[in-house]
Symmetry: C2
Subunit: 477 residues, 2 copies
């Protein structure tokens, strides 16, 4: 019986035009990564489970795709210990299972599955740096463009297999790295024609400073989440929410300037400096921001804007310095299209201490959606041939194939219709494939060493010499 | 406790220079695929298990990496039925388990694992064609360059994760496809500088013809395997082996010409035509060979040689027409670096009948080994920056970063050492990274708007204007 073919939920097939569009974005990102001195590495699609497990929190562990041991996994070298009450367990529903039973089951899982699919590119990178530390010349600027897998519930714009595009530097505390990463974002988005993105910056130390000033580090997330709603619910609304969350009126008064936190990024930083004057850590954050902002401004950005957003708290328990997030140009409804930051101890989990890292990531799928929406894919992004030679029979085909071989040596994408079927059908094929030119070589043309060329967009027809044909097809490459 | 980091056996990390070398090969293959009118598609890394299982034989099924259902896989919607004697089973060794018990276990596996990693690109392609048949304009020339995974025992040159690079056409019976695929092999290997590869061709129908003539279809494999040893063990040795395998003396006499099967490909085909004159299927194969050979010769190959090898029986139960295999230039000890053929019913397994396909594959890992051995990677294949600006302090760094921003806009890969450490250390960094130029901008140079440039290979030093610097770095790109 033939199976009705389908693919797992949350995964995608990419058609030729989709691949071409994605490759255009990949290639732009890659070119810019390399212009900025980043070097590519690649790591395996699956890692040993112990490399990944426990690195992304409990939720992350659950979302990691686990690979069953190969061969007869039941009889691996590790004696499998089935949970004692395995036979009863299978009839229990998920809700009825106890924590102890779940732990038993997880132990069982770790025996029958010792490998897992990559969940992000950061942990494999940290593993790579530690494993290859003696071959690496630090500071090490690496980029990595590879798919990752997450057993998340699929939804619009969220997939179970998707690409990450990361650039990170390890082994340097210099703030010039942050300056360059802002320039890198600007360079990529400008080259993609995606003008007017906002690169939002914050600093973990500023957030700590705010927590210190309001005297409530445990309420910091509640505070930033509420503050972030200023545009939507107004100052009174925000303050109401803060009070509800248990932040004192006194604390709110202390950071009153944050409620009218407008102006240029330079003005904002000045306001922050006054606000956080009493916090040593906060002032360190202000200094870092100042350095980055000053030098980014001095060197200049092409089309992006750098802005300070004190509510930006992305990956709070992870980043230790700068925090970045990029938002699409105004008017496009899309969340962040990139993000990153500095983390002081990237490789500590694998035993290499004091290795500071800072990096950024590009969200390929969302960038593709934005470029599509704004109709910014260049016309040259196509997956199709430049010309289709029609097939009029064996002798004509031979003649055509000789011309085709020469055109291909000139780097021109060109093909011949494989069968000498009705000409109408062959034209239709070129049309459906979006091929711009049809080349007709019949007896007459063979005799005169000419090529009949029909422009399938305009309908124009002309007879060309081989050289003229080369020029026409090259010019329209 | 810090873990000692490692990766699963049979997988690899790729360093920057390794990625650069592999990308050079990928990009050459890709460019040629597109010149020949092939279009890229991509399919998910994992497929539903039922898409893959049963398509590669029993051995293949065993080598497919299976993914554990996500979440609490024990409590999936499908009621899991544990094998009855599961508790005893866990204490049995693999040898003691009965076939019935194994079937039970496999059933259990198929409940806890419903997805599996791609084993090759052909079955996912067949699935793609059937699933998207209404969007595809046939004949469909697709290429696909993606990793596949096999739980094979790792050994030299054999990995558990490796790339396949496939080009296939479906929906056309025209032998021009075979002609073009030979040209495509020639074009890729010529462009890689890998001159002198042999493209061996055979035809399934010729093998059937030979079987018919020797009157022993069931002995065909034994026959070709023995014949293949002609070079090594001589005519007598081969005949001895054939007799041992139960092929009759009479049969051997009938195909005597195969023992002195030398000459040009045209001569070989003539000999075959005489030998197989009584076999209708054999003669069909000879005709196909003739067409392909004649037109390949007429159009001409750049550096490869097309040769007939009647012992070529690659994937015998799979191919139905032409069979291809490419061997490295003489003197390089390496098995096949590519292969392919025609299969009449590619998509039948998924319910779409009468869809003939023909395709070829490039063995990336082996090609990389051969190019490395012959020292054929161009010097331009590098993962490193063109120049490193040394860091003499804040003011100098600012000046340098402005020049760097402009150089990058010119498309030049360039970077600055992030810290103002000892100059010796900075030179050492450039050296270890293989960066060819160091740029020195101190007080003096800033004043004169000049850039001190040291060629780290020759040791030459000069002072250049910005324009001269751009030209120098562009020229050496």
């Amino acid at each position: 019986m033939a199976q009705k073919p389908s693919i797992p939920k949350g995964t995608r097939d990419f058609s030729p035009i989709e691949v071409a569009k994605r490759n255009y974005i990949f290639s732009t990102i890659k070119t810019n990564f390399e212009k900025f001195g980043f070097q590519p590495i690649e790591t395996p699609s699956f890692e040993n489970s112990e490399t990944l497990m426990g690195k992304y929190g409990e939720e992350g562990d659950r979302l990691i795709f686990k690979i069953l041991n190969s061969g007869n996994y039941f009889f691996s070298k590790n004696k499998i210990e089935l949970p004692n009450n395995i036979v009863e367990l299978q009839h229990k529903s998920a809700e009825d299972i106890s924590t102890e039973e779940l732990i038993e089951l997880n132990k069982f899982t770790s025996k029958i599955s010792e490998k897992a699919l990559r969940y992000d590119l950061t942990v494999p990178f940290a593993r790579y740096v530690v494993q290859h530390q003696n071959e690496i010349e630090f500071p090490f600027k690496r980029y990595q463009i590879q798919p990752v897998w997450r057993a998340d519930r699929p939804q619009k714009g969220r997939f179970r297999e998707f690409y990450q595009c990361d650039a990170d530097v390890v082994g340097s505390n210099s703030l010039w790295q942050e300056v360059e990463l802002v320039q890198l974002y600007d360079s990529v988005f400008s080259q993609l024609g995606l003008n007017g993105v906002t690169i939002k910056i914050n600093n973990r130390k500023i957030l700590s400073g705010i927590a210190e000033v309001i005297g409530a580090s445990d309420k910091l997330i509640d505070f930033t989440v509420a503050l972030d709603k200023l545009d939507k619910i107004g100052e009174e609304g925000v303050k109401k929410e803060m009070l509800e969350k248990g932040i004192s009126n006194e604390a709110i008064l202390k950071v009153q300037p944050l409620f009218s936190f407008t102006g240029t990024i330079v003005e904002k930083i000045e306001k922050l400096a006054q606000l956080l004057a009493t916090s040593e850590e906060g002032m360190k954050g202000v200094e870092e921001l100042q350095f980055i902002c000053e030098h980014v401004n001095e060197i200049g950005l092409q089309t992006a804007t750098l802005d300070l957003d004190v509510t930006l708290a992305r990956g709070l328990n992870y980043y230790t310095g700068a925090i970045f997030e990029v938002t699409a140009p105004k008017g496009v409804a899309m969340g962040s299209i990139g993000g990153g930051g500095r983390y002081d101890d990237l490789t500590g989990i694998f035993g290499l201490k004091n290795m500071s890292g800072v990096g950024i990531s590009f969200g390929l799928d969302r960038i593709a959606l934005v470029i599509e929406e704004l109709n910014l894919f260049p016309e040259t992004v196509t997956a199709t041939s430049k010309a289709l030679f029609l097939n009029f029979g064996l002798e004509e085909a031979k003649y055509a194939m000789k011309a085709i071989a020469k055109l291909r040596q000139e780097g021109i994408k060109v093909e011949m219709y494989p069968d000498a079927t009705k000409i109408g059908k062959q034209f239709q094929h070129a049309d459906k494939r979006g091929i711009p030119f049809a080349v007709l070589v019949g007896e007459e043309e063979m005799k005169n060493k000419q090529y009949g060329v029909k422009n399938l967009v305009t309908g124009d027809q002309q007879k060309l010499s081989f050289e003229e044909l080369v020029n026409l097809l090259k010019e329209n490459k």
